[in-house]
């Protein structure tokens, strides 16, 4: 497996009336070709913003990527301007994105075929007729019944699940190296969600496409992802393979998060308290006020970076990683 995307020190800030919000704080991660990486965290932790930053889609103003690099192939995505030619060639063609809101993410004034074939016509040199054939083929692959006639439907003529299938097809149609699925199934009901996830998983594995799966549902990630990044208050606080994290969560937040996943016969534990405000954050661990394991060293020697503990498993927690350091 080759390295596809290397993100280093990505930091994104928003200007608001109350001050500067640092939505993404110095995160680093990698994506290899063909693998599924899960990004988990509760709402407002910066999952979506980090992905938007990489795609150059942060609304600016008020948002701004203030630091970091994101090497994709030979280019640093964060150095490219939103409108630049290079960025447009990557977007949709090499990296594509599936958004959270299936009801509003499709243009109401254009047919499904127009919206999908437009990408092919933009990035590949093919005729309109060929593009239409590819679109119909793609619609079939994402499980739209009767794709020949549905291709000429307008989005409002489809249900939410169908529209999200169209979004998936749109993301896949140029056969990109990486797909970012931003809460792609959150807005759908549970059975449709399961169908869609299964379909996406098969499709991505089949085409050997890498996928970053952004969600607040650890259960989903655990089932489909190869590796997981857990985010809290704009930082990645734990990273590792699914097995490593599920078997041995290092960060207290991850631990609580796993307890939040409903399992038969077990009590679901909610995490007390609220995530901190992202304005004027203290230099300590962001989870500190809610952490049940906190100790003096958490205040005195806060760890600001992911520290490798074992294998590929790393965490930001001072207690857990500190212990590992002492042993070395």
């Amino acid at each position: 497996m080759s390295r596809l995307l290397t993100v280093e020190g990505l930091t994104t800030e928003f200007k608001t009336e109350r001050g500067i919000v640092r939505a993404v704080n110095n995160i680093s991660y990698t994506v290899d070709s063909g693998e599924i990486v899960g990004v988990v965290g509760e709402s407002g932790c910066g999952k979506s913003v980090s992905q938007m930053s990489i795609m150059g889609l942060i609304p600016s103003p008020p948002g701004k990527v203030v630091a970091g690099t994101a090497i994709f192939g030979n280019t640093d995505l964060l150095k490219l301007k939103k409108e630049s030619k290079e960025m447009c060639e990557i977007r949709g063609n090499r990296i594509s994105m599936i958004f959270q809101e299936p009801m509003t993410s499709l243009n109401p004034a254009l047919t499904v075929n127009k919206q999908m074939s437009e990408m092919l016509l933009e990035h590949k040199s093919i005729s309109k007729k060929e593009a239409r054939e590819r679109v119909i083929d793609m619609l079939r692959q994402v499980g739209i019944p009767d794709p020949e006639s549905r291709a000429d439907d307008y989005p409002h003529q489809m249900s939410g699940g169908m529209r999200q299938r169209v979004m998936v097809g749109m993301a896949m149609i140029c056969d990109p190296a990486l797909i970012i699925a931003d809460e792609a199934t959150t807005a759908l009901d549970a059975t449709i969600q399961a169908q869609l996830l299964e379909m996406m998983n098969n499709l991505v594995r089949e085409h050997h496409t890498a996928m970053v799966m952004v969600t607040h549902n650890l259960g989903i990630v655990a089932r489909y992802a190869d590796r997981i990044n857990v985010m809290y208050a704009g930082s990645i606080i734990e990273s590792g393979t699914v097995k490593e994290i599920w078997a041995n969560p290092l960060h207290p937040y991850t631990e609580s998060l796993i307890h939040c996943v409903p399992q038969l016969g077990q009590k679901v534990e909610a995490i007390p308290g609220m995530p901190p405000s992202l304005i004027n954050r203290p230099p300590t661990c962001p989870f500190l006020p809610r952490c049940k394991y906190r100790q003096k060293c958490c205040f005195e020697d806060p760890v600001q970076e992911l520290t490798l503990v074992e294998g590929t498993h790393s965490t930001m927690c001072a207690l857990r990683s500190g212990g590992a350091k002492n042993e070395q």
Binding site: R18, S277, T284, P302
Partner: protein, 311 residues
């Protein structure tokens, strides 16, 4: 250490310090009143226009002291003079001081604007509330009549009505009010219907809230902001309408110093003394523009969607 809002931690410089944990509740609350003024005056144009409106109001109230001459005092020895130190904007065909007439004209413009806005808003709001709350035939009848009135070009309807009621301030006020009130009906009726559809109002109704409670608790408060904005904007429209009527000789007639009729009188002498028609027109534009910009600023400041938003 538990449950406190401050924690000890090592700062970037290596010193142990006390830090406050910033919960949402601990942030300074946003003062709505202060926020209103800050957003309202955020654009400099709005601030300037607000001052201009105040100046006009001041000039109208204290016209007696502000104006250098009596607006109707004819001075046959200085007829059609160019601007000079004695007559800052010159004099008209009867030797009346143009500046004084413009200052007194402010009274007419503001008077007509204010009265029409109040009358039309009052009538329109009441009928609009009824139409919004009623269903079926009542609503249909009100809205069709509203459509009909709004389909007639407003200047034409104003001309017709002022012909019936008679020229002069009263006729003009009636004419303009009657053309402006349907706008309020549409605004309020639309507002009522959209609020009625809101989930929180539906929920309250399910819990057995009375009609009047929903009316006073939800619907009226939601109507106030758009009503204020609409009224400010309509000030400008009313002043413009009065000016057009007076210009056509079918509104406020001379010798009352109305800006529109002053423009018309001056137009005959455009070649020799252009200020006679250009200056009153400039006054109209300034005042209407100022009201519009203030309305714009109010809309921004009162828009609930913009509260505490990113800037």
């Amino acid at each position: 250490m538990n449950d406190t809002s401050s924690i000890m931690a090592v700062d970037v410089d290596g010193q142990l310090r006390e830090f406050r944990v910033l919960d949402e509740e601990l942030l300074p609350p946003v003062n709505e009143f202060k926020r209103f003024w800050r957003v309202f005056f955020k654009r400099k144009v709005v601030l300037i226009c607000f001052v201009v409106v105040l100046l006009f109001v001041f000039a109208a109230f204290f016209a007696k002291w502000v104006a250098p001459y009596d607006p109707n005092e004819a001075d046959y020895y200085s007829v059609m003079t160019q601007p000079s130190s004695t007559h800052l904007l010159g004099t008209d065909t009867l030797g009346r001081d143009l500046l004084s007439r413009i200052i007194y004209g402010t009274q007419i413009a503001l008077e007509v604007g204010l009265i029409t806005v109040i009358i039309s808003a009052a009538i329109g709001t009441v009928i609009g509330l009824v139409a919004g709350y009623a269903t079926g035939a009542v609503q249909a009848i009100i809205m069709r009549i509203t459509d009909a009135i709004m389909a007639i070009p407003s200047l034409i309807l104003q001309l017709l009505i002022s012909q019936v009621v008679g020229h002069g301030t009263f006729g003009v006020v009636v004419a303009i009010s009657l053309t402006l009130f349907p706008g309020y009906i549409r605004l309020i009726c639309g507002q009522v219907q959209s609020v009625k559809q809101n989930d929180y109002v539906q929920a309250e109704r399910c819990m057995g809230a009375s009609r009047s409670r929903i009316m006073f608790k939800h619907i009226l408060p939601n109507c106030v902001s758009p009503l204020i904005v609409q009224m400010t904007m309509m000030m400008g429209v009313a002043i413009l309408s009065e000016a057009s009527l007076s210009f056509l000789g079918l509104g406020i007639t001379p010798p009352t110093p109305a800006w529109g009729s002053m423009c018309y009188d001056g137009y005959q002498y455009l070649m020799t003394n252009p200020l006679l028609s250009i200056a009153p027109g400039l006054a109209i534009m300034l005042l209407v523009l100022s009201f519009n910009m203030v309305g714009d600023g109010l809309r921004d400041a009162l828009d609930p969607r913009l509260r505490g938003s990113l800037n």
